[in-house]
């Protein structure tokens, strides 16, 4: 037989197919031989040949019948037995409803939780981006050679000049596109103007992600040139929402910031690059922009097939070095990085998500240990049943398989229920994920084959995990012993099982400790974040963004006048205490950094200066935000366009650059379109602009009148609930200009809460898993001690009869539990200590090996372990010595 054929036969046998022709031939041959031999024997015994043959045939019996029987036997019984075992398992599980309910509830919850987390991990980390060549799409950014690359490198760090030069020079890419974002006001035909998020991009972006339009077309590289046509592509959701999904939208004219644009196409729903936007506009980088030094663009590129990230990086670094030579003023100490887009998007959330999956995996392990414990208890009750089955001929292997099948039936039922829980749980989880992160990495959390495969594997895997050892134990049972002693505990087997149960409880305790320690560290980080003084008072503050179209507000004066009027109208609304505005609001991730020098001191070499965060504010801003002025003054209405250029700096800037003197009346020098000379008139309190976990920056505040921005965030401090002021605020702004919409209307507290979103997510989930783990471990201890008390009834009875008091009995039981807890706590602490380093990136204001946390969770676990043992301990005192001894 060829090996291949042998395998095919084996497979056929296993699956229950018959290879009939071959078997029939063999059977026929064996039968012929048999009958011939029988005939010979009959002849030897004196029969005539014919008669002998007939007799032999009769004796053999119905050939057809035996052939059928033989055929049946060559078929594997595997599936049949499996079904039989499964039916038997269901019957026996139904006979023990309390056990089944407890096990299924425990497992379904933890499988549901695990699958929920896995769905999110799957969506965020495992799924490929919905692009034509997801693995070749990379982000390129410029960054300082002097500082480690930061995650914000992706937010906007490319200069137009370098982009335009490198787009034509870089050989590693099949496409290279740069883009930025802008808030615009859009007026659809015959519609009210609405605020929309626009992405201003070079035309290459669409082909880099391999997008196809849902309607019409995208603008082309030929059109994306200075003086090119005013064209606009709508995002799918914006088209549905603002245009009602009008299929004749292509070719229509739309007023964008009072300029007429033609809608040329609509993107498909999956056309999302970083955050979703409403409309796509051509960048048409003008020659004037080409020489601008500022870095505010993001880029995407498509690697040529076969070009590695490393090769592209090497090329970009070479180009960057060339630029540093050609244009040292803006490019010294700058280099370029190439990162796969997926990696850039996922960033830090990779650690968070894997950690959470590990945590919930621990919870699942604890649940398995608990169910294994329940099974062991049940096995003790079933020792007799098993012994009887073995004595009537069931093989140990058969018993083992039967019991394991029962476990797997149990876990599969739990997985089914867990799946329902997971669907709900995933939705809850997605709602918990910070929205800015979610929009980028959780585009599609639907159930796919990976999630299904995962839950199937978990369903079968957990059953094996918690079922194998109890089943082995039971199947190995010593029949004679069990039958003889009438099923009472105390056999070798039950002693082995008692040891096993203790070991399981120890494992549960140590896993619970690991979870709790993680929860403790995360909760403490979250608390520490909450306690950070952000530098302003976020309560009772409403924020909104206003963008003025440049066509209608062409001059700084016009822009300043608008905000002055709008602020005074808003201030008149009832309940408003103060109003201010700023170009880049804290906690939005927006900033603009420029190099500056201090008059009278040597200038920094290019690329070595500290860099200041430039922010334009209105005079009311500090008051409205509750940012204190530490020295000097804030801005007033008299700091006007014609008056002396003034600035307020942050304490960080004051302390690091003017450590021993007052910065007041010193002059800052920098380039912003033209050379600026700004007198410092005040020092403002530090603000954590990028969140509590981030450092404070060197801020340079300028009066809005001298440094106008068409897009400002207005902040309004009110009495009571800030969201109530949204409608009056909208009305007030409309009174100034009916065509200006408000965008991103949010209470400041919401921004604060979003800024700690990922820590809150981890703290919430870790906390939840920790508490569940603690609960399960407690139940585990309770179960084992109850069982121990039951097993030791006799011993306890003797002790009580010999004069031991109830207190001694309780002490005995609790003492035993305490020993188990102690071992679990020690092992858990070691594990947690070794593992907590992995959390380091996610922690804030608390060391990974925080003694307080570790001691605290150990104490909590010890308390729970004791409480769980007290109840069976008290029950033990009710043992009646007479009954217990008579049971002998």
């Amino acid at each position: 037989m060829t090996p291949r054929k042998a395998w095919r036969d084996r497979l056929a046998l296993l699956l229950g197919f018959r290879r009939t022709d071959e078997m029939d031939e063999r059977f026929q041959s064996e039968m012929d031989f048999h009958v011939a031999m029988a005939t010979q024997k009959n002849v030897r015994n004196g029969m005539a040949t014919d008669e002998a043959r007939r007799a032999a045939s009769v004796e053999f019996g119905g050939r057809q019948q035996w052939r059928e029987a033989a055929r049946d036997e060559t078929r594997s019984r595997y599936l049949e037995e499996l079904l039989h075992d499964a039916r038997y398992a269901i019957r026996s599980l139904r006979r023990a409803p309390a056990f089944t309910a407890a096990a299924v509830a425990t497992l379904a919850l933890s499988i549901g939780a695990t699958t929920s987390i896995f769905s999110v991990v799957n969506a965020a980390l495992l799924r490929r981006l919905p692009y034509a060549n997801p693995d070749r799409v990379v982000a390129v950014c410029e960054w300082l050679t002097t500082k480690p690359i930061s995650e914000s490198c992706g937010v906007g760090s490319f200069s137009v000049a370098n982009f335009v030069i490198w787009r034509s020079e870089a050989k590693s890419f099949d496409g290279f596109a740069a883009f930025g974002e802008r808030r615009v006001s859009l007026a659809p035909p015959n519609g009210e103007p609405i605020s929309a998020q626009a992405r201003i991009t070079s035309a290459g972006l669409f082909s880099i992600v391999g997008a196809r339009p849902a309607l019409g077309r995208f603008f082309t590289p030929a059109e994306d040139v200075p003086g090119g046509p005013n064209e606009m592509v709508l995002s799918y959701s914006f088209w549905k929402q603002a245009f009602g999904g009008d299929s004749s939208v292509v070719g229509k004219k739309v007023l964008m910031n009072t300029i007429q644009y033609e809608v040329v196409g609509v993107g498909k729903p999956e056309l999302v690059v970083y955050e979703p936007v409403d409309v796509w506009l051509p960048a048409r980088f003008s020659d004037a922009l080409r020489t601008q030094p500022g870095r505010s663009l993001r880029t995407l590129a498509l690697l040529k097939p076969g070009v590695s990230v490393e090769r592209a990086t090497a090329e970009m670094k070479r180009l960057a070095a060339q630029r540093a030579q050609d244009e040292p003023r803006y490019n010294t100490n700058m280099t370029a990085y190439v990162t796969p887009l997926k990696e850039r998007l996922v960033g830090n959330s990779r650690t968070v998500l894997w950690t959470l999956l590990a945590a919930v995996g621990f919870l699942l392990l604890i649940a398995c240990a608990n169910v294994a414990n329940l099974l062991l208890a049940r096995a003790a009750d079933r020792e007799r049943e098993v012994a009887v089955r073995i004595s009537i001929g069931a093989s140990p292997r058969r018993i083992f398989r039967q019991l394991l099948t029962e476990s797997i039936v149990l876990s599969l039922a739990s997985a089914l229920l867990g799946f329902a829980i997971a669907i709900k749980g995933t939705a809850l989880l997605v709602a918990l994920v910070p929205s800015d992160l979610g929009a980028q990495i959780l585009r599609d959390v639907s159930i796919d084959w990976r999630v299904l495969a995962f839950i199937a594997a978990v369903g079968i895997g957990t059953g094996m995990l918690f079922g194998v050892v109890p089943a082995l134990q039971a199947a190995r049972g010593d029949v004679q012993e069990t039958l003889k002693e009438g099923g009472r505990g105390g056999s070798n087997q039950s002693r082995a099982s008692a040891r096993l149960r203790s070991a399981l409880v120890v494992a549960e305790m140590s896993l619970a400790l690991v979870l709790l320690a993680g929860a403790g560290l995360m909760v403490r980080s979250f608390a520490a974040l909450q306690h950070v003084d952000l530098g302003f008072r976020p309560e009772h503050l409403l924020t909104a963004r206003i963008s003025l179209p440049g066509r209608k507000y062409p001059s700084d004066t016009a822009v300043a006048a608008f905000f002055k009027q709008a602020e005074s109208r808003i201030a008149q609304q009832p309940g408003v205490r103060s109003v201010g505005a700023i170009s880049y609001l804290p906690l939005t991730g927006e900033r603009s950094v420029t190099n500056f020098d201090i008059e009278g001191r040597p200038a920094w070499k290019p690329g070595e200066g500290p860099g200041g965060d430039m922010r334009a504010i209105t005079p009311g801003y500090f008051t409205a935000m509750g940012i204190p002025i530490r020295e000097g003054r804030s801005f007033t209405e008299t700091d006007d366009i014609g008056s002396e250029a003034v600035g307020v700096v942050s304490q960080t800037l004051a302390k690091s650059l003017f450590p021993n003197v007052s910065p007041i009346n010193h002059y800052l020098l920098y380039d912003w379109g033209k050379p600026q000379r700004v007198r410092i008139v005040g020092v403002a309190g530090d603000v954590h602009h990028d969140g509590a976990a981030k450092e404070t920056y060197m801020e340079i505040y300028r009066p809005h009148t001298q440094f106008a921005y068409g897009t400002m965030a207005v902040v309004v401090r009110v009495d009571g609930d800030p969201s109530r002021i949204a409608a009056p605020m909208r009305k007030a702004v409309r009174e100034v200009d009916p065509n200006i919409p408000l965008a991103s209307v949010l209470p400041m507290t919401e921004l604060v809460s979003r800024s700690v979103g990922s820590t809150r997510l981890s703290a919430t989930l870790f906390g939840l898993f920790g508490i569940l783990g603690l609960l399960l471990a407690g139940i585990g201890i309770y179960g084992v001690m109850t069982y121990t008390v039951q097993q030791r009834r006799h011993e306890i009875g003797v002790r009580l009869a010999l004069g031991a008091g109830p207190r001694d009995v309780v002490r005995m039981v609790v003492g035993r539990a305490a020993r188990l807890s102690a071992v679990g706590i020690v092992i858990g602490t070691v594990l947690a200590f070794a593992g907590s380093g992995l959390l380091k990136k996610m922690l804030f204001g608390v060391p990974a090996h925080d003694g307080v946390t570790f001691a605290g969770v150990a104490v909590i676990l010890a308390i729970i372990g004791t409480i769980a043992a007290v109840i069976p301990g008290l029950r033990a005192t009710h043992v009646d010595p007479v009954t217990a001894l008579r049971g002998e």
């Binding site: 064996e30 031989f33 048999h34 053999f60 119905g62 019948q65 009537i392």
Partner: protein, 111 residues
Amino acid sequence: MTDRERDDLLQGTLDMLVLKALQLGPMHGWGITERLEQGSKSILQIGQGSLYPALYRLERQGFVESSWGTSENNRRARYYSLTTAGRARLTEERQAWRRMARAVELILAMD
């Protein structure tokens, strides 16, 4: 107890006897029936056809293996022999049988 388990028990007996017959050495189907008949001093008449399903079953379960050979009168015959698993199985079944027999004997001996 289900019907199938009762089947198992009865089949089990024939299986055990077949294993025992093969313990003496590899043999073809006809030879096995002869061994069983002689061994039981002709008390036990094995339904001759039923032997083959039993052999096929034991082979599937891995307790026996088989190959073609030539019989004493020069005919092609299928020879069966015990595997290691089969030997172990025989020991187990023998113990179980003795237990059972003792239990039945004890019950029958009751006054």
